[in-house]
Symmetry: D2
Subunit: 330 residues, 4 copies
Amino acid sequence: MGETTTVREATYELLRRRGVTTMFGNPGSTELPMLVDFPADFTYVLGLQEAAVVCMADGHAQATRSPVIVNLHTAPGVGNAVGSLLTAQWSGAPLVITGGQQVRAMITASNWLVNVDATKVPEPAVKWSFEPPRAQDVPAAIAKALDLAQAAPSGPVFVSLPMDDWDQEVDVDVVEDLAARRVAHRAGPDPAVLLELCEALDVAEHPALVLGAAVDLAGGWDCAVAFAEKTGVEVYTAPSAGRGVFPEDHERFAGFVPFAATAVAETLAGHDLVVVVGAPAFTLYPYAPGRLLKPGTRLVLISDDPDALARAPLGDGILSDPALALAALV
Amino acid sequence: MGETTTVREATYELLRRRGVTTMFGNPGSTELPMLVDFPADFTYVLGLQEAAVVCMADGHAQATRSPVIVNLHTAPGVGNAVGSLLTAQWSGAPLVITGGQQVRAMITASNWLVNVDATKVPEPAVKWSFEPPRAQDVPAAIAKALDLAQAAPSGPVFVSLPMDDWDQEVDVDVVEDLAARRVAHRAGPDPAVLLELCEALDVAEHPALVLGAAVDLAGGWDCAVAFAEKTGVEVYTAPSAGRGVFPEDHERFAGFVPFAATAVAETLAGHDLVVVVGAPAFTLYPYAPGRLLKPGTRLVLISDDPDALARAPLGDGILSDPALALAALV
Amino acid sequence: MGETTTVREATYELLRRRGVTTMFGNPGSTELPMLVDFPADFTYVLGLQEAAVVCMADGHAQATRSPVIVNLHTAPGVGNAVGSLLTAQWSGAPLVITGGQQVRAMITASNWLVNVDATKVPEPAVKWSFEPPRAQDVPAAIAKALDLAQAAPSGPVFVSLPMDDWDQEVDVDVVEDLAARRVAHRAGPDPAVLLELCEALDVAEHPALVLGAAVDLAGGWDCAVAFAEKTGVEVYTAPSAGRGVFPEDHERFAGFVPFAATAVAETLAGHDLVVVVGAPAFTLYPYAPGRLLKPGTRLVLISDDPDALARAPLGDGILSDPALALAALV
Amino acid sequence: MGETTTVREATYELLRRRGVTTMFGNPGSTELPMLVDFPADFTYVLGLQEAAVVCMADGHAQATRSPVIVNLHTAPGVGNAVGSLLTAQWSGAPLVITGGQQVRAMITASNWLVNVDATKVPEPAVKWSFEPPRAQDVPAAIAKALDLAQAAPSGPVFVSLPMDDWDQEVDVDVVEDLAARRVAHRAGPDPAVLLELCEALDVAEHPALVLGAAVDLAGGWDCAVAFAEKTGVEVYTAPSAGRGVFPEDHERFAGFVPFAATAVAETLAGHDLVVVVGAPAFTLYPYAPGRLLKPGTRLVLISDDPDALARAPLGDGILSDPALALAALV
């Protein structure tokens, strides 16, 4: 090793360089070593129960379209957060959850505050769950967590951090390389597939656009408006969208696709082509048997979530960031 | 099938026959079909956030030494409970957690209120996590859950229950057989091993007894007092015991084994034989290097928790229900 | 329900319409109901141990760039396959593994041939693991499995199938909708990010291209050759690539990036820009401390695998299908 | 720390002191550091595919009623073993599986031979799965694994071992304490419950004893013969018992309880009390609806497996080591 710094210094420098200086949390004793000499250029937003802390961070991440650190206590603290993490997963909030862990020497014998099976506690609410095998790997684990949280479909990830790791030494160069990395997380539509969709839109007599929360999360609001104005398509909000997706006083706004299965087909009955962007097709409740769309209505779903694309009961699908797809359509 | 009844009727009859008529919960729409025609001889204790609901049930189960049903909402409801479930696991409370699930026809496409990966949400806080493969298997799943929750070491289990299962028909005879079952969950010490321990206690000059919460949870309070009075052994409370384990004004009561690793050896220094019953040996905090006991002090641990027996850093172990072991020693 | 068919008929029709008519397998009694009246237009390739069966299917899927069904026996059969599934995951083979399961009525009591915790057996070698909550959901589960296996990064998925599901009735229209679906699984680079890379390539004095197996898996061989010939870039094969990625007698072919960490920097020392496509950066063995690249060499990684993008120790990343990225660069 | 030794020396000394000097395995490069200077008093039985290696170890463990180390290669090696591990779990073989892992510094970036999600690969075939958080914890992890493998119900456990841990230093005293530990893993029946069973046997007109493999695994063969000769009870072998449980030429031997559900009730029809020891009640195949026993036949199940006790569809249960229960009955 060449020049070294502490894991604590290295981690804050990494976060600073990646532009992540807001933390939400409800710390206990296992988190205190991480918070010693808390940097003045960071903001720590304290909450008193983890269910609320994660919701606050979820809203902040959605509003700023940026990753947020959520600093939670060992097992019970992380456990209290699981319900809100499932919601954050649904809303696509890129949260990096840190859970304190006992000092490494006490973990194997399961002493007080040991997070036994630490990486399992937040599953299946997170995309990645990891406890670094050495103190020196904490910065790399946080760096990986930041990128995975933003990878499509964005959402929470978890890193378990033993409390004696923060004072260990780590190579400055390793952290410099990690801090300098930039990953472009958004991928656009296959050009050949997009062309087919454009042709289908051209020949459609009465196309509709149904937008979900992921459009605005990806920054696609303006593209959606531009596309609607250019093509005259009618625009709907998808069922159970968690945020506004289109100006509801716009003349192209046609209303909300209802939540009840039976009513979806009625609402979209007049359209020969329905393009859903950034939402599952569809999220329904309560149960009502019957086909989602009337014969004669073709469905195309554009999403950056492979699960949403794979589980739709009918229609075609295109993998793409919602905003990049709308920009390409425009 | 012969005579049938609904899954709902069958399940309440099973619970009634097993003596489990108290439920704690915070229901949502996925739980309503279970609660239709709620029987007058059952008590439902409502709480408004799952972290509190589980703690209430935990206390009730410990105080009554009986299984309790905890009726939670689908994914976010169960998720909110995970922190308290980890605590209930630590305290050995035999909780049967039920989590509502969407109607079966909506699960595969992940609609609103679907508990995706339902059985994983409460892991690793539960010993068993199950979603029945058919509505007709709900009573058998609940019956199994009741017994597994009480099996040593007692603790929470989870059953995911699709909301359209409750009105389905199930064979009356199947439920009658399940309701009539009685399992003896407590096992005692190997007689040969117990004899060796008695001989060791006889020759010990200054033995000590360290009692944990599992002694009282198993109903061993009176046996502990009788043993102390018969043998004159000094009695300590284990570190971080979650409840009283011995009358603290009794003349044989010698105090509390401290929580800090360094102080354990000091406290138990004068004893040549330390018998720990119903607690890990030991649960410590904070970290302090050094041997738990001074040379010359032998440790024997009696527990019904194989993990506690396996993870102790030193000493011998005996698998047994704590109360049966104390009764046998007396 | 309108017109119905059996789950068996529906599933084979779905596979036929999706173009998946080759199955590899080693069936036992739990698979026999699936194989009754095996359709004449399907091919079943029998193997006698699952480790080999999966490898055969892996090779077939890679060579044909298409999903393949792998038909395995309940618990021990699926268990025998896990090692080869981890390899298939590494090679990105879109395998849909089916595991037989006992009849639904026998699962809860864990009888002979019950795959207890069926969905956990192949984890973490699969991206999705599912047991349908009803027989009627088998076609939708297989449809979802086919698409998820192909979603980037492509790889194995698992569906557990109770043996009494095959004769149940399912709605013909539901299956028709599932069979007609087409999902475009490949996404291309963000145009703005690609432009930056083009500019970087223009100004680079001595750029290099390092290609991994995913390039050829995505059908990018010709694009890679075209790009090399157009730009004169030197082309290397990535460490531990599982297949040929570039004509090794081509004048632009510069050799293999070595497997040993210390030698990577030496090999790529003369290049000021290294673009890795379709491989991690880098997969190394054995351990050798030290920076992967010499100062002055910039690394850009293009991959459709968010994990590979997130875990690289240095350099920038671009999410994209490897072949679409090379096509766009050309 | 006081006097130290290497993790390798410490681990072999621990195994030697616990009487475990036979290893089965199929090593690769990640296992070589563990096998350097392999001690002359240990035996290494080499196999060439892990499915066979585990079966050999399973048989050895059953025959010797002792824990066995199974030394497997990282991810694909452990993966190949999962099918046989599920069988070993069924047979109750106390196997300690070791899986090699890459050097700690290479794990976070997922290089070649990294066992990503190492602890998940053998789940759910093992009772405990662990990767030590430090090299110094390897002996404690192996010690815990030895005891948990033998804890009722006995079966496989897994420990993932980074290949650079073996040359690290560990405190001699820590290992000495671990090596000296002895845990009594067998617990006997609750005396009050046993008394009730004795009374029921006394008044039964035509009792039967059904024995499973766990009787012989626990060393209860002689007790079973003694009990049968003393009481004149008819003795059957349980369905799908994996080994002989009673002398089949003995005059009290009444035959095998059949595997098919419908035939169990016929076989046991004449008995008013059936006591099953050391087997589930019952493991059946294929599916056949109907009650397991005729009206008038009472079932009592004695087992050290809480899951077998909890999942039986009818009858009462007693938690106990099978051999201790038979000894107490005698």
